[in-house]
C-alpha cells in the first residue's frame, strides 16, 4: 500500500468523484451531437473514472465493479450496437449505415438520423470504456504485486 492509496482524503474524494465523472462521461457522449464531445471522448472519460477508482482502491476492487466477463461482453456489445444499427438500415432498404432509411419517425430522416447517431455514439462509448478499462487492468501490475503501482518514488 502506497501513501497515496492509504490517504483517507484521497479515498473519500475518489469515492465521491467517480459517480460524477461517470455522469459527466454520459453527458459528453450525448452532447456530441451538438458540441464538442462524442462517444469516444465520453467513453474514455468513463473508462478513466473506473481506472481512477481502481488505482486508488486496487485492481481487485476495480474488478469487482467491472468484472472481466462483463468487460468483454460490454466491448462486444458496443460494437454490436454500432454494426447492428448499420444492418438495421439494410433491413429497411437503405445502404449500410444509412440512418435516414429507418422509418422511426416518418417524414423526418434528419431526426431519425440524430437519434441513431446518439445510439451509435452510445455504442462507441460502451466499447471504448470497456476496452480502456480492460487495457488498464491488463497493463497494470498483476494482483499479487498489487499496490506497487502508484508507488513509484523509489525509482529515481
Amino acid at each position: 500500500m502506497s501513501r497515496i492509496q492509504e490517504s483517507v482524503i484521497i479515498r473519500t474524494v475518489v469515492r465521491i468523484m467517480v459517480p460524477f465523472i461517470e455522469l459527466f462521461a454520459l453527458y459528453v457522449i450525448i452532447h456530441g451531437a451538438g458540441g464538442p464531445g462524442g462517444g469516444f471522448q465520453g467513453g474514455v472519460i468513463f473508462g478513466a473514472a473506473i481506472i481512477l477508482y481502481a488505482m486508488i482502491y486496487g485492481i481487485a476492487e476495480g474488478k469487482k465493479r467491472v468484472s472481466d466477463a462483463l468487460d468483454r461482453i460490454l466491448a462486444s456489445t458496443g460494437l454490436t450496437i454500432y454494426a447492428g444499427t448499420g444492418l438495421l438500415c439494410i433491413l429497411f432498404g437503405g445502404m449500410f449505415l444509412q440512418y435516414g432509411a429507418v422509418p422511426l419517425i416518418p417524414d423526418d430522416p434528419a431526426k431519425v438520423s440524430k437519434y441513431l447517431i446518439d445510439l451509435v455514439e452510445i455504442g462507441i462509448g460502451t466499447t471504448v470504456a470497456a476496452v480502456m478499462i480492460s487495457l488498464f487492468f491488463d497493463v497494470s501490475p498483476p494482483e499479487s504485486e498489487e499496490g506497487e503501482l502508484p508507488d513509484y518514488e523509489g525509482a529515481d
Binding site: 456530441g32 451531437a33 451538438g34 458540441g35 464538442p36 462524442g38 462517444g39 469516444f40 466491448a75 462486444s76 458496443g78 460494437l79 454500432y82 454494426a83 448499420g86 449500410f96 449505415l97 440512418y99 435516414g100 430522416p109 434528419a110 431526426k111 431519425v112 438520423s113 440524430k114 437519434y115 447517431i117 451509435v120 455514439e121 455504442g123 462507441i124 466499447t127 471504448v128 470497456a130 476496452v131 480492460s134 487495457l135 491488463d138 497493463v139
Partner: protein
C-alpha cells in the same frame, strides 16, 4: 546505427521541406481543399441531413460513419490484442 538513423531522418526531413514549398498556405480559405465542394457540402447540409449541429460529429457518425466503425474496431482489436498478450492462459 545512430548515423544511419540520422541520415534517414534527414532524408525524410528534406522530403517534408520539399513538399512544404507547394503546400497550400495555412489559414487561407481559398485553397483547393476548402473550396472543394465536399467541405462546403458538409458545412451547408450536415444539419439538415443528419440533425446534429456539430459538423464533426455529423461527419464522424454519419457521412464517414463507416470509418468510425473501423475506428471502434481498432480499439476493440487493441483490447483483444493486449488481452491475448498479457492475460494468463485459461487453464
Amino acid at each position: 546505427m545512430n548515423k544511419l538513423a540520422l541520415f534517414v531522418v534527414v532524408i525524410t526531413g528534406l522530403m517534408l521541406i520539399y513538399a512544404g514549398q507547394d503546400l497550400p498556405p495555412f489559414g487561407d480559405p481559398d485553397t483547393a481543399m476548402y473550396q472543394h465542394n465536399m467541405t462546403q457540402y458538409f458545412i451547408e447540409n450536415s444539419e439538415s441531413e443528419s440533425g446534429v449541429s456539430n459538423i464533426v460529429t455529423a461527419l464522424l457518425a454519419n457521412y464517414r460513419g463507416y470509418d468510425t466503425l473501423g475506428e471502434t474496431t481498432v480499439i476493440f482489436t487493441a483490447g483483444m490484442a493486449v488481452m491475448l498478450l498479457l492475460r494468463r492462459r485459461e487453464r
